[in-house]
């Protein structure tokens, strides 16, 4: 327990150090610049809303947390519902690629670890759904949006896991990229989301380390095992870089989110940091990052890397990745197969309530 907390602290120190540096480069919060949608509103109501919005932005600028019952702009609410629910869906769908390996984990210990990790992902989904619900959307609506394909989830989970090494690569790279994205979210302006992220990040560190541990074991094993590790890195490297989202120039949601302190760093900033953290870790494993253009830039003190295939990203996002259909089908099947359990639990609860009522009468 204590040991785990120490590890988490180490990670935080590293990332928080970095978080402290680029502040000056970040876009400043402009207090009164949001273009208001005043169409169809009475002038008085619109003026009222401008004042409320100014007060809201002032609170955000002062790093005060916004809580569920506080006034917030409708677009802030909508942005958060979209982001938090997508995040929750990603956790739930993210259970599938690794869950696929639980029955085939190479040892009992690895199996126990993998079960614990997949259970954590389910937990993360539950924390996040709860946070989204504080914004006025119901759990049933959210689940429905996932199952009908109306809501998006992280496209990384539409890639397959053909070997055990993929489980290692997911922990190391996918969870590593997730941590990079999520640590700044612990300071997000919306209280319930920030608090959920603190809990999630604490657990995510275990995920990344167990993944690297799998890779390390394979890379120190037979030539075949090392080749498996290399092939998994080849498969996951570029999709992991895509996890940070489109390049800043093409990112549609960034400006509002940064002003509202939902998002504190740009996609490209986080991606660069991920590359800089990860390349030495790959070198230590003795495997090669599949990018011939990857090189250290001494002047800029960071790695240069090759162009990302955004067409692939778009293709997977639009539903044409290797496993999109399979993942959604698995979720729908799980939901349908669990229907009788939910019905039985509801019936049992109703019966108990009835018995208690008649005993009291």
């Amino acid at each position: 327990m204590t040991q785990e907390k120490l590890k988490w602290t180490d990670l935080c120190v590293t990332i928080v150090d970095w978080l402290a540096t680029p502040t000056a480069r970040r876009p400043g919060g402009c207090m009164y610049t949001q273009a208001l949608d005043t169409e169809g509103k009475e002038p008085a109501a619109a003026a009222d809303e401008t004042a409320l919005e100014a007060r809201f932005q002032a609170r955000v600028d002062l790093e005060e947390k916004i809580e569920p019952k506080d006034w917030m702009p409708a677009k802030y609410r909508a942005t958060l519902i979209r982001q938090i629910s997508q995040h929750a869906h990603s956790e739930i769908v993210g259970m599938l690629p690794e869950g696929n390996w639980i029955t085939r984990a190479p040892t009992l210990l690895r199996k126990s670890i993998l079960i614990a990790k997949v259970q954590d992902e389910g937990g993360h989904g539950a924390y996040l759904y709860s946070a989204a619900e504080t914004l006025g959307v119901s759990r049933d609506q959210l689940i429905d949006q996932l199952l009908t394909g109306k809501a998006k989830y992280s496209s990384i989970f539409n890639y397959p896991t053909p070997t055990w090494a993929d489980v290692g690569a997911i922990g190391w790279l996918v969870d590593g990229a997730a941590i990079m994205n999520q640590i700044p979210l612990c300071r997000c302006s919306y209280g319930p989301y920030a608090r959920a992220m603190v809990r999630i990040c604490r657990e995510e560190s275990f995920h990344q380390r167990q993944g690297y541990d799998i890779m390390l074991k394979l890379c120190r094993g037979t030539p075949e095992q090392k080749r498996m590790a290399q092939e998994a890195l080849d498969r996951w490297w570029w999709p992991a870089l895509m996890m940070f989202g489109p390049p800043d120039a093409a990112s549609t949601h960034s400006t509002d989110s940064q002003r509202w302190k939902i998002k504190r760093f740009s996609n490209d900033e986080l991606r660069q940091k991920f590359v800089d953290f990860t390349v030495p870790q790959a070198r230590f494993l003795g495997i090669t990052v599949p990018d011939p253009e990857l090189r250290w830039n001494e002047a800029r003190k960071c790695h240069e890397f090759g162009a990302i295939d955004w067409n692939e990203f778009e293709r997977v996002l639009r539903g044409n990745g290797p496993c999109n259909v399979e993942r959604l089908a698995a979720r729908r099947r799980a939901h349908a197969d669990g229907a009788w359990v939910r019905a039985a639990a509801s019936a049992y609860a109703a019966k108990q309530r009835q018995r208690a009522a008649s005993a009291a009468a």
């Binding site: 019952k69 259970q119 937990g123 619900e133 639990a345």
Partner: protein, 108 residues
């Protein structure tokens, strides 16, 4: 999309089909208070405790769990914050540091 004003955390009123929402409080160690950690849906109180065990104490985070139906919590309104809490602000004499005690006086 306006939140339900009756709910402490702005959550929607419970729908017919959805399991009720419970707020979960965990006592981290013997001797400490129960602290709010989050919420979950459950068919009944017993399931709420079982789910809370799985959701919030996977790493020995607690020795005791409270589950409270979210609709049963009564909360203050953020709009009343000023009238509720402002009066305490200028009463600095309630704090021990307000009083200057001569150095010669010990154990006070």
């Amino acid at each position: 999309m306006e939140p339900d004003s009756k709910h402490p955390d702005g959550k929607r009123p419970e729908s017919e089909h959805e399991w009720p929402l419970f707020e979960i409080f965990i006592r981290a160690r013997g001797g400490l208070d129960h602290k709010h950690v989050g919420s979950l849906h459950a068919a009944d109180a017993r399931m709420a405790i079982e789910h809370a065990r799985d959701l919030y104490t996977r790493r020995q985070e607690g020795v005791s769990i409270w589950a409270v139906r979210s609709v049963d919590i009564v909360a203050s309104d953020p709009q009343d914050a000023e009238s509720l809490f402002e009066p305490a602000r200028d009463k600095i004499y309630r704090h021990p540091t307000f009083y200057q005690i001569p150095d010669e006086v010990k154990t006070l």
